[in-house]
Amino acid sequence: MHINSLSSEQIALQDAARKLAQGEFKAKAARWDAEGIYPDENHHRLAELGYLAMAMPEEYGGNGASLVDIYLVVEEIAKVDFNTALIVHDQNVSPRIIATCGTEELKQQFLPRFAKGEIECAISWTEPQAGSDATAVTTRLRPEGDGYILNGGKIFTTFGDRADYLLVYARFCDSKGARGIGTVLVKRESPGVQVHILEQKMGARGCNECEIHFDDVFVPADHVVTQGVAENSSGFVKPLSVYNATRVGMGVLALGIAEGAFDEARDYMKTRRQFGKSLAEMQGLQWMMADMRIQIEAARALCYNALLMIDQGKPDPTLSSIAKLQATEMAQKVTHDALQMFGGYGYFGSLPLERMVRDVRMLTITGGTTQIHKNAIAGAIFRD
């Protein structure tokens, strides 16, 4: 497949998402950022139109859409509204982990409700001392009765304040590193769960990051998604394979923001006149735009290629890392350059550029920092 040879169904899907994004989401995008509020009405609209059920298999009420399809939608929305694009992307994080790794019973219980938009789930993995060092998790489960007792603390849980369930990475036994880590679903309203919304951040301000404390929280045995065992790291590694897609998804989110910023710059340059001609007629600026376009196309090809490989059952973690890294670094540069085209106006909150620069800054950090992906890529280079 070549990303410029989409099927007619995919083109229709992309057109519909573009119309929704440009027609409904664009005008409101500044509000979620300025007021720091979750785009609830967009969430309902997305649920109503079926965009939140794309990742779920058909037998559980979803559309069973491919990752390529889902991210064609995410890309269109990210062009105008990063906070809302994150909502569509998010179904490929925890729900997809449940769909891939969970028991039949768990899937029956949760997936149809995700598909209908009835419940939401946030991933709760990072801890204050376990950031890039992701297997340094100390949150603990200890068996009790027909379940477990959970104790520990998490940080940077996106949507932790509104999610009905948290997908928590925790240790099932005394173990070190990836061994013994597994994942469980924890109802946010369970006794012993405390959620604290973290101080505001640079961008993605419609989506709260939370600190979460678990104090003797009971987790029923049937809420285990992947069992952690002392002998191996299967409980940790299985959800990670799903996370490959999430990472590339971060790349597509970045790609969308970059394209949105690029489009804004291109339109502005046609109308803004200085020195008696439009900015579009100035060679130095033309070359900047050409460089931006080249970087966008390269990232786009990398991201969709990586997604397609996952869709075809041949996920390549190295190519996923490369796509994520390249697209998120690219998007930082491109949004900066797009802002530059607006001169001083680009620095103002009345235009979307400064918001785009702030939003995109998150993406070289979250989903594995650029440095962690370089470790992974270097590891693959020297593995043989």
Binding site: T126, Q129, G131, S132, D133, A136, F156, L198, E199, Q200, K201, M202, G203, E209, R273, Q274, F275, G276, K277, M282, G284, L285, Q332, H336, L339, Q340, G343, G344, G346, Y347, F348, G349, S350, E354, V357, R358, R361, M362, T364, I365, T366, T369, T370, Q371, K374
Partner: protein, 392 residues
């Protein structure tokens, strides 16, 4: 003899400013950003200590310090509190400097001692909606009216204009075109005909928002004429622009300071933050990043100090030195603050750390006081010995 080392006096001046900045301004640095508030109390403190009059001649209530000293001052303030540095930059290198270079003795007597005391704040109004980089397209007109001039027009990007007592306004004699006929006038914001319009929220530098200014039949009395433009020549405009040479040096110094502040924060963090069982500083990839950051800061600092100590024949900073310093320092500050944020991981993205603010603050340098692109035009023109017609 060539020496790139600061003498002991300047080094001890640096220590003194650093101590003061850390003691007085660090704690509230986030406050001005978050509340979008002009740091008036810091301005008052600095005035009291005599820093705001550094570049004002002694006979007008200042201390007549050399450019290099003001450069070090701005660098150290910016390292701790960017919004306060921005205020200082306007006091030191803004219109007050133009007044002390180009004004009449009466204007200097009347204005400069109060600037030094922090009582009079003069902001600058050059840009217009249709005249940004193409500054000589400005349309605000000055029409002679007896011994004064009547101004009409709209200005934008007037940094801190909403709290200014005076504006230094660029306006052209009616009928003139391009750089010819452009002059500068002082506008008293309390007088009839001058009003503040929209005040824009910005990404960074939020303690000093950008104001739109409207001048409607504003009458400049003879006492507030700074330089009347000559419709037949662009000399007045060139003179005005060269009086902004020190502004570029100050801008670059703030970049160095801001980058140094972000660097210092990141260096400390990489020493205490542990991942994979060791401090971040033990990772070679991060060591190299820190090394690159330090090298870039060092290079920018040398360029700025050279621009501050190597004046051209007219006494202003050498234009090539000053322009190159701003271009390099502007881009350096963006890269270094951004890398410092990255070294903090997700913590860097939150407002519990200063990095995200520093990145937002740094972004404005490349836009204000001449965009990077205009600086490149200027450098290319100096390389080829003639300016290029941007209208072709």
């Amino acid at each position: 003899m060539v020496s790139f080392k600061l003498d002991d006096e300047l080094e001890s001046f640096r220590s003194e400013v650093r101590r003061m900045a850390e003691g007085e301004f660090a704690e509230k640095a986030a406050y001005w950003d978050e509340h979008e508030e002009f740091p008036a109390e810091n301005r008052d403190k600095l005035a009291e200590l005599g820093y705001l009059g550094m570049f004002i001649p002694e006979e007008y209530g200042g201390s007549g310090a050399p450019v290099i000293q003001g450069t070090i001052f701005l660098e150290e303030i910016s390292r701790v509190c960017f919004n306060t540095a921005l205020v200082c930059q306007l006091y030191l290198n803004g219109p007050a400097r133009a007044v002390s270079l180009l004004g009449t003795d009466e204007q200097k007597q009347r204005l400069l001692p109060n600037v030094a005391k922090g009582k009079t704040f003069i902001a600058i109004a050059i840009s217009e909606p249709e005249a940004g980089s193409a500054v000589t397209d400005l349309r605000t007109t000055a029409v002679q009216d007896g011994d004064g001039w009547i101004l009409n027009g709209s200005k934008c990007f007037c940094t801190g204009g909403h709290v200014a007592d005076y504006l230094m306004v660029f306006a052209r004699c009616a009928g003139s075109k391009g750089a010819r006929g452009i002059g500068a006038f002082l506008v008293n914001m309390k007088k009839k005909g001058a009003s503040v319009g929209h005040i824009s929220t910005k990404m960074g530098g939020r303690g000093l928002p950008e104001a739109d200014i409207t001048l409607e039949d504003y009458r400049v009395g003879p006492e507030d004429i700074l330089l009347v433009g000559d419709p037949e020549s662009s000399k007045t405009f060139s003179l005005l622009m060269s009086s902004f040479g020190p502004e570029r040096v100050g801008n670059s110094a703030m970049c160095v300071g801001l980058a140094q502040g972000a660097f210092d924060t990141a260096k400390d963090y990489t020493e205490i933050r542990h991942q994979f069982g060791r401090p971040l500083k033990e990772f070679q990839g991060l060591q190299w990043k820190i090394a690159d950051m330090a090298t870039q800061i060092h290079a920018a600092r040398l360029m700025v100090y050279r621009a501050a100590t190597n004046p051209a024949a007219n006494g202003f900073p050498d234009p090539m030195d000053a322009t190159m310093a701003k271009l390099y320092a502007n881009e350096m500050a963006q890269r270094v603050t951004n890398d410092a944020l990255q070294l903090h991981g997700h913590n860097g993205y939150t407002r519990e750390y200063p990095l995200e603010r520093m990145v937002r603050d740094a972004r404005g340098f490349a836009l204000g006081g001449g965009t990077l692109e205009i600086l490149r035009n200027t450098i290319a023109a100096m390389i080829y010995g003639h300016s290029f017609n941007q209208r072709r």
